[in-house]
Symmetry: C2
Subunit: 122 residues, 2 copies
């Protein structure tokens, strides 16, 4: 089994927007040396999710975990991502594709965000 972790983010026009996502990718890759960790975007930035999956499958990956790096679960996670995942599963029926919940819903992330809010008050 060859695994990959895809950090799925929205994308933006400003290149600077991607910086924390790139740091997250690098930090996760350092913790997961046996797993390919990569970023993919919904819109405005490249690579997009389908092209990312195509490339991973070409590399021999057969197990992909997608983590939505979104704070809340709006239309992008309730509709767009399920549609993308369904198309990928139809194209690659032997690929194992798991989709996690929004990173912003995680209790650990919530706790860290709360700490930041408290500290921001000075």
């Amino acid at each position: 089994m060859t695994r990959a972790l895809v950090l799925f983010a929205h994308g933006a026009r400003a290149a600077s927007w991607a910086a924390p996502f790139e740091r997250l990718r690098d930090a996760a890759q350092a913790r997961l040396p046996d797993c390919r960790v990569t970023l993919a975007f919904l819109e405005l930035m490249e690579p997009r999710l389908p092209a990312t999956v195509d490339a991973l499958v070409q590399e021999g990956v057969d197990d992909i975990s997608v983590v939505p790096v979104f704070l809340g679960q709006g239309g992008h996670l309730l509709r767009d991502l399920p549609e993308l995942a369904a198309a990928i599963r139809a194209q690659y029926p032997h690929l194992r594709l798991q989709v996690a919940g929004a990173i912003g819903e995680d209790p650990g992330v919530q706790a860290a965000m709360t700490e930041y809010c408290v500290r921001s008050l000075g």
Copy 2:
């Protein structure tokens, strides 16, 4: 001095999107009993930032910290929020208004997101 912490988020069409932001507001409020903690949105959801500040000033608040609950710093934080803050400062010259960096750039939040990514791989 009467202080408020405003958690500034993007907004979305799906009401479910706001759930983690509401939990964050409640958790921060529990940690900051002497400070008014409230949510404000850039678009698609109410209340917007200017109306939120108007209401806080009416209540006697004279010191507001804004925490952008955004993962990255794109156009919304590089242009939209500074414009909103400039208009607020022009309208209320005696109000102290501080704007923090994007919550997703915080090292503690980054560490928690990294943990979530590692755990998501199972």
